[in-house]
Amino acid sequence: MGGKVLTVTSGKGGVGKTTTTANLAVALAATGDKVVCLDADIGLRNLDVVMGLENRIVYDLVDIVEGRARLRQAMIKDKRLPELYLIPAAQTRDKAAVSPTDMIKLCNELRNEVDWILVDSPAGIERGFRNAVAPADQVLIVTNPEVSAVRDADRIVGLLEAEEKGPGHLIINRLKPEMVKRGDMLSTEDVLDILAIPLIGVVPEDEGILVSSNRGAPAAMDERSRAGQAFRDVARRLKGEDVPFPSLDDNKSFFQRLAARFTRAS
């Protein structure tokens, strides 16, 4: 069967789907795997800028679907990693330009080319979402520890169950350990109690994420980035490794990081 199709979705907008897709793609490619990411948010393309590849777009997803470009032609190579590619969304079309069947066909072709196909889903539960989920072997649901994001994530879990796409795996993004500690933010355990699906990642709030998208260089490329580390952990879990969830306790992790740096240096 070849490559595996992973769809990143959330229901609610702005929780970090595109950031997650870009970082997981980078983290998986850094392990030597061949990765292509596919921006399924037609009309609101963004994965290209987050990855810093916006100036190299010639063809897009709709060009492939409508036969104006071959698959290989539309795959933009990210030169920073050996085998990382992007297929951008079309910016001047809408979701209806592509059907779930088109997505399945396209991903099946990509399976022969790469190890991982990461699909960045648009927000919402309409056509764009259905397009993104149709080819998925595994779905990653991104949420924030916040009522509206968790409620929308629950809706996605229900829709995935109805489509027999499994419950999906959860990534809790933008967690602030100090707010959890003082009882002003839902904890990882709270969110898991509510959604009752398997957890695959907890990503702490990190200002570095904004800096990295300013620069077009996903945080997972930066060894020192905390969020980047969390995404690299998710990538390892996706590859079947049993990676423990680190304590997000601020002080502890500061010393742990310090210790880790000394160990690396020596």
Binding site: G158, P167, G183, S187, D193
Partner: protein
């Protein structure tokens, strides 16, 4: 700090995260089942009516709740039956 002060002054006895969790749990039961609180009330009235046709029940003691375990939702009805006139209250040992 503010939270600690609030708690000391008894302004709120639960953290905002706890309220978030409880509110979410409630709203999700309704989202998942597509049963509004009003519909649950209607169900309750109709269930009482149907059962009352055949057996005597205590309408005031009827409880109809939605409960959630992991990803399963169920409607749980607790309906106290009244003893039939002249009937035994409890089976003999």
């Amino acid at each position: 700090m503010g939270n600690w002060l609030n708690r000391l002054l008894g302004r709120d006895n639960q953290s905002s995260a706890q309220s978030a969790k409880e509110r979410l749990q409630l709203v999700l039961i309704h989202d998942r089942t597509d049963l509004s609180p009003a519909l649950v009330e209607t169900l309750k009235d109709e269930i009482i009516a149907v059962i009352s046709k055949h057996v005597e029940i205590d309408p005031g003691g009827v409880e109809i709740n939605l409960s959630q375990t992991q990803r399963e939702n169920r409607l749980v009805a607790n309906i106290p039956l009244l003893a039939a006139p002249g009937g035994r209250r409890r089976p003999r040992k």
